[in-house]
C-alpha cells in the first residue's frame, strides 16, 4: 500500500514537472508574441533608429579613415621635409667643407 502511495506521489510529481514545463513553453510563445508585437508596433522607429545608427557608423568610419589618411600624408610630408632638410643641410655642410 505504501508502495502504491509513493508511486502515486511520483506520478503526481511528474505531472507537476511536465505541467510547469508546458506552462514555460506557453510563456515563451507569449513572450515571443509580445516581442514581435512590439517590433511591428515600433517598426518604423526601429528602422529609423537602425538607419541613424548605420549613418553614424559610416560617419565614424569615414572620419577614422580620413584621419588615418591624414596621418599618412602628414608622416609623408614630415619625412619629405626631413629629407629636404637633410639634403639642404648636407649641401650647406658640403659647401662649408669645400670652403
Amino acid at each position: 500500500m505504501s508502495n502504491l502511495f509513493f508511486s502515486t506521489l511520483a506520478m503526481m510529481g511528474i505531472t507537476f514537472i511536465i505541467g510547469f514545463f508546458v506552462a514555460g513553453i506557453i510563456k515563451i510563445i507569449a513572450n515571443w508574441a509580445d516581442f514581435f508585437d512590439f517590433y511591428h508596433l515600433h517598426k518604423e522607429e526601429i528602422v529609423n533608429m537602425k538607419r541613424a545608427l548605420r549613418s553614424h557608423h559610416h560617419v565614424a568610419l569615414t572620419e577614422a579613415t580620413t584621419a588615418e589618411q591624414g596621418n599618412t600624408y602628414t608622416k609623408g610630408h614630415q619625412s619629405l621635409a626631413h629629407k629636404i632638410k637633410e639634403t639642404v643641410d648636407g649641401l650647406k655642410t658640403k659647401k662649408r667643407v669645400t670652403a
Binding site: M1, L4, F5, S7, T8, M11, M12, I14, T15, F16, I18, G19, F20, V22, A23, G24, I25, I26, K27, I29, A30, A33, D34, D37
Partner: protein, 405 residues
C-alpha cells in the same frame, strides 16, 4: 388456438422480465425509471440535454427491448459490446443496427477524438497565453481526485489498472476517461464510461453546492483588479501555440497522441481561418458525435451489462474522484488568493476541473450572483483549458506508467 399462445413469448419485453429473475428485473425497472429522469432533467436544462435525452431514451429502449435470442440467452437488437470474436462480430454487425457505430467509432476511441476536435474549436487559448503559470497551477491542483482515487480504489479491491481508469473520472473529461479505460481496463470500460458521463452531467448541478460550502460569500464576491488590460493575442500566435504544444505533448506521450492531435487540430482549425471546416467541426461533427455518444451510452446501460460486482465501487469512487478534484481546485484558488494578496477570486479554482466549458460557466454564474460587477470568465476559461491539457498529460502518464508498476 389462442390458448396455445404464450403471452410472455409474444411480448418478449415483458416475458424477459419474468424470465430474468427478480434481481435483474428490478435493475431493469430502475434503469428505465432513471432513463425517464434523465430525459426530464435534460429537458429542464438541469443536465446537458444533448447527451442526457438520447442517453435516457437509449436506457429505456434497451431495458424494455430485451428479448430471448435463438440460443436461449437474453439479448437485444441494438449492440453487443462484449463480442470479441471477429467472425461473430461480423455476424452481429449484420444484425444489431448500432454495432457498426459502436465497433468502428466508440470502442476504438474515434468518437472521443471527434468530440475532442469539437471541444478544440471551442477553446480560446488566448486566456491561457495571458496567465499560463497560474492557469496550469490551478489545473494541477484540480487533479487531486485523479491522483488520490488510485490508492483509495486499490484499498477497495480494484486492480491498479482498474483504479487508474476510474480515477480518471476526477479529470472530468469524458473522452479521457473513455480512452484510459479502453487502454487499461477494457472489461470495465462500459460501466466506467457510463458512470463517468452520468456524473459529468451532474457537475453542473453539484459543484455550486461544493463552492458555497467551501468559499464564504465575502470571498465569492471578490472583484479582481488588473494593473494593465489583458493582452489580446493574434490568431497566428494561437496557431503557433497549438502546433508547438501538440508536437511537444505527442513527443512526450505517444500513447495519448490521438487525443492531443484531436484537441489541437480543433484549436488549429479555429485559428487558421478555415471557415467551412470550422463550421463543420464546431457544428455537425461536435453535436453529431455528442449525440451519438449519448445514444450509445444509453444503449450500453443494459441491466445485465451494468450489474458488475464492481459497479457500486465505481459509483462511489467516481463521486470521490470528482469531489476531491473539486476540493483540490478550490484549494488552488485559495493558494492563488493568498499569493495575490487578496486580489484573486478563489471560485476560479472550480473552473480548473476541466469539463469545458461547464465549470467555467458555473464559476462565473456563482460570482455574478454575489457581485454582478465581478467578471472572472477569462481567468476561469484559462484554468478550464489548462484542465483539459493536464487531464491529457495524466492520461498519458497513466497509460505509459501504470502497466510498468
Amino acid at each position: 388456438m389462442m390458448e396455445n399462445i404464450d403471452i410472455f413469448s409474444l411480448f418478449q419485453g415483458i416475458g424477459t422480465m419474468a424470465a430474468s429473475g427478480w434481481f435483474l428485473a428490478t435493475a431493469r425497472v430502475v434503469l428505465i425509471v432513471l432513463g425517464f429522469l434523465l430525459i426530464y432533467l435534460g429537458w429542464k436544462g438541469v443536465l446537458e440535454p444533448m447527451i442526457m435525452i438520447p442517453m435516457g431514451l437509449g436506457m429505456i429502449a434497451i431495458n424494455c427491448g430485451t428479448l430471448i435470442m435463438p440460443d436461449g440467452t437474453l439479448g437485444n437488437l441494438f449492440l453487443d459490446p462484449m463480442v470479441t470474436d471477429t467472425d461473430e462480430l461480423m455476424n452481429v454487425m449484420q444484425i444489431d443496427f448500432l454495432q457498426p457505430i459502436y465497433t468502428l467509432t466508440f470502442s476504438n476511441g474515434l468518437i472521443a477524438c471527434f468530440v475532442f476536435m469539437g471541444i478544440g474549436t471551442l477553446l480560446d487559448v488566448g486566456y491561457l497565453l495571458q496567465r499560463p503559470f497560474a492557469s496550469i497551477f490551478l489545473a494541477l491542483c484540480a487533479e487531486l481526485g485523479t491522483f488520490l482515487t488510485i490508492p483509495i480504489a486499490s484499498a477497495m479491491g480494484l486492480t491498479l489498472k482498474e483504479s487508474a481508469s476510474v480515477a480518471m473520472v476526477g479529470g472530468a473529461d469524458g473522452p479521457m476517461v473513455l480512452f484510459t479505460s479502453l487502454v487499461l481496463a477494457k472489461h470495465l470500460f462500459v460501466p466506467i464510461t457510463v458512470v463517468a458521463y452520468l456524473y459529468l452531467g451532474l457537475t453542473y448541478g453539484g459543484y455550486p453546492y461544493l463552492v458555497k460550502l467551501l468559499i464564504p460569500q465575502r470571498l465569492r464576491a471578490i472583484k479582481m483588479t488588473e494593473k494593465k488590460a489583458p493582452k489580446q493575442y493574434d490568431a497566428k500566435v494561437k496557431l503557433a501555440f497549438a502546433v508547438i504544444l501538440c508536437a511537444v505533448l505527442c513527443f512526450l506521450f505517444p500513447v495519448a497522441s490521438p487525443l492531443f492531435f484531436s484537441l489541437f487540430i480543433g484549436v488549429a482549425v479555429r485559428e487558421s481561418g478555415m471557415k467551412h471546416v470550422y463550421d463543420f467541426v464546431s457544428g455537425p461533427l461536435l453535436y453529431g458525435s455528442t449525440f451519438m455518444l449519448g445514444m450509445l451510452l444509453g444503449v450500453l446501460c443494459d441491466a445485465h451489462l451494468l450489474l458488475d460486482p464492481n459497479i457500486i465501487k465505481l459509483l462511489i469512487l467516481s463521486v470521490v474522484a470528482l469531489l476531491l478534484s473539486g476540493i483540490g481546485g478550490i484549494a488552488g484558488g485559495y493558494i492563488m488568493y493568498f499569493i495575490r494578496k487578496g486580489n484573486y477570486n478563489p471560485v476560479i479554482g472550480i473552473a480548473a476541473v476541466s469539463c469545458v466549458p461547464t465549470t467555467a460557466k458555473v464559476a462565473q454564474k456563482l460570482v455574478s450572483k454575489e457581485n454582478p460587477d465581478s467578471f472572472i470568465l477569462g481567468d476561469a476559461l484559462g484554468a478550464n483549458i489548462s484542465g483539459v491539457i493536464t487531464s491529457a498529460i495524466i492520461a498519458g502518464i497513466y497509460v505509459s506508467f501504470i502497466p510498468l508498476l
